[in-house]
Amino acid sequence: MTVPLPIFVAVPLATAFLLPVFAKRGKAVATVLANLATVSLLVMALCSIGQTRVYEVGRWSIPLGINLVLDGLSCLLLLAISVVSTAAMLFSVRYMEQYTAKAKYLSLFLLMVGGMNGVVLSGDIFNLFVFLEIASIASYALVGFGCGNEELEASFKYMVLGSIASTFILFAIALVYGNTGSLNMAYISKAIQGSGLNAGLAFALSLFIVGFSLKAALVPFHAWLPDAHPSAPAPISAMLSGVLIKALGVYALVRVLFNVFGISVSMGWILIILGLSSMVAGAFLAMGQWDFKRLLAYSSISQLGYVILGIGLGGLIIAQGGNLAWASLAILGGLFHLLNHAVYKSLLFLTSGSVEMSTGTRQLKQLGGLAGKLPFTRAACTVASASIAGIPPFSGFWSKLILVIAAVQAHFYWIAAIIVFVSLCTLIMYLKVQRYVFLGELPENLQQTKENRGSMLVAMVFLACLCVLMGLLVIIPALRNSILEPAVKVLTDGLEYSTKIIKL
């Protein structure tokens, strides 16, 4: 089945504007509509696995009009976005009852989803910027949704850094347009191959790296993330950590570096250094946290480091003219880790939301002994923790294993050692979560705690099942060839992207 690509953007945006009309009639209608939208997006994303298409909006041919491109990498991100947004939307049916303006929340949520789908599908660099801004403005508002002191402050911090990043990206787009005379990514790439990298383009490239790294919260640019992600309502934290930083940061950075400018040795090293510093610094900072969601936020930085490291390692091998099989293995590890992280980190944030809703606190020192009181939340959290720490049957193990194998094969033994070391740190911090939240003594004031049932439970079980089953994505060749391999192929092909798109 071929779904017209703009539907992925139009459905969430149109639903977002439809919802406030129902605000008076009753929240139930709005909630059902929003859930229908996310579920239909998931179905459509599943239908478009393995396709490569170009869609010319309004029948304007490629260099003139806007085009949307669906290829393996976009499809992977589309799947991650729709899976996480379906679960988060289901979770917020019950969770958001504690806030007042639920219809507004739902429409901002859908605006964010629409923006992310747009970023992932766009084949035009300015269009990418517009969708990036839609998604980021919606997320700024959602971070400050509680309107408490900390929420407002975190939202302001996020907004200032996010706006600076957007301005950098816009400046880079202006420079690229001035130097190549095109905004279509395929044509820009062709022009750069023809003229080589002059001073203006090199400056644009550095602005792109800074801007997208700010959006992705890689370590020198990570200051906003540990404030912004814990302040948002739990389903939104799941969306922000699970997919927003990936779609806006990692995807856009990787697309621009690999397919537009072409990867070089120095850029490969930049990615590796960004990845390594994020991994190590994120892990160490996470271990010292006593706030449940803040710990998860720091651990997101650390896990995102794995993704960037894997992709950068692959890029470095390609740029040095090394063995293409190792390069694709490293990139496979990075992209698979991206998908895994989207699932288990959003699950962890949802469980933290469930704990917070039942007990009213998220300070680890005030919690304890909840294993008996919250059995399902506990089970989900244990599955996700085992997965993120890389315990064998769960999904995180496979992606980390692939990364280690790739690093060893490419003779970067020290990188492999750091991967294993950070993995141990991750295990320690999630043991800490288990110890202080679910085991130990039950405090007096938490005796009345009740499990959250209904939609929250369904969302958590859905993601937990995915956590267990995700390993199959690499083990079964058919699944690997339809979902992961096309995405890896897009990156290893590099600059051939442009010729493919123009031919289509």
């Binding site: 017209p4 139009a10 504007f17 869609y55 309004g58 508002a141």
Partner: protein
Amino acid sequence: MKGMTIIVKTISSWVKVLIFMFGIYIIIFGHLTPGGGFAGGVILASSYVLLMLAFGREFVEENLSLPVASKLDCVGALLFAAIAMFGLFYGAACFFWNFIQAEYLADKETAFRLISAGTIPLSNLAIGLKVGASLFLIILVLSTFRPDVSVKEKE
């Protein structure tokens, strides 16, 4: 805010009509002259801002209350989306396909007439409604310091 003196009130009640008409002109002729939905919508909103300055916020809220403006905002956006979606059901079956131009007005004679350019004037109308209502909302909400109003506007 009680509003300003009688002179300001009288003059602004005259001028507001002109500004409003000018905004509508900019929107309707958006496909022929510079301007269009966004510029016209800003001008429409500015006529209400003039009223707000002259007569006070309560007067404006009586004429165009917050929920109504918010509905208009959504209707504008939905109209725009609907125009884009209609393209999927006509001829070329393409998102944003200019179906009126292609199917009914494919004639060079119509260029520079008011009714030309297919769906573009309709989209301009939708955008004008959307921008006018949302800018009005933004200014109205920012001018209230009540703590219980949720201040979340986008575009």
